[in-house]
């Protein structure tokens, strides 16, 4: 049972480049979420999705784009990376019958 996976696990990029972080879950969960985690801020919600083709902004969506063409995948794209987007990114999912979210292993992103 693969659960929820993220790729890449580590990424170094340069300012201005486009970067896509991948998230894949095998549970057929309806809801998927993207968070960023920074020192002093905890986990902050970037975008979430209630089902395929349904997405909505979270607390810190600026500079990010998401899509969800298939239930199992929820990619996050940084259209033009900035240094302030250096962070650890976590994807999470839940079936929706309760609020328990299950997290992927995270992607550590460094923008130079």
């Amino acid at each position: 049972d693969a659960g929820i996976t993220q790729s890449p696990r580590y990424k170094i990029t340069e300012t201005g480049r486009q970067v896509t972080l991948m998230c894949h879950q095998t549970w057929s969960h309806s809801y998927m979420f993207w968070y960023r985690q920074d020192l002093g801020h905890g986990l902050r919600l970037i975008y979430y999705s209630a089902a395929a083709d349904i997405t909505d902004k979270g607390e810190v969506p600026d500079g990010y784009v998401v899509s969800r063409s298939k239930t199992e995948n929820f990619p996050l794209t940084l259209e033009s990376a900035t240094r302030s987007q250096t962070s650890v990114y976590f994807c999470a999912s839940t079936g929706g019958w309760d609020e328990t979210q299950y997290f992927g292993p995270g992607t550590r992103l460094l923008v130079l």
Partner: protein, 112 residues
């Protein structure tokens, strides 16, 4: 604005000690409160609390919710070095598509 505050921010204890971690919240339309443990990787689910006064217990960890005073505590008895982690508290609201609002966490270090 919905707010989740955890205290203390960090603490260091000796193996065998008992610790109490606090989480207070100011939110509209509360649904549930969740505790997660985060070691050097993804958060892992510990407890979900929805009703006041009902203790949830798992081994040496226990948690209780007070919906009147708007807080929860997480107790760890007979601490071990493996309990060293960041403990995250999160709150979900009704009608919000299973979204969670996280506190910034309490960093617990257990020393020999």
């Amino acid at each position: 604005e919905d707010k989740v505050v955890q205290s203390p921010l960090s603490l260091v204890v000796h193996e065998g000690d008992t610790v109490t971690l606090n989480c207070s919240y100011e939110v509209t339309n509360f649904r549930s409160l969740l505790w997660y443990k985060q070691e050097k990787k993804a958060p892992t689910f510990l407890f979900m609390l929805t009703s006041s006064g009902i203790e949830k217990k798992s081994g040496r960890l226990s948690s209780i919710l007070d919906k009147k005073e708007l807080f929860s505590i997480l107790n760890i008895t007979a601490t071990q070095t493996g309990d060293s982690a960041v403990y995250l508290c999160a709150v979900s609201l009704t009608g919000t598509a299973s979204k969670l609002t996280f506190g910034t966490g309490t960093r617990l270090q257990v020393t020999l």
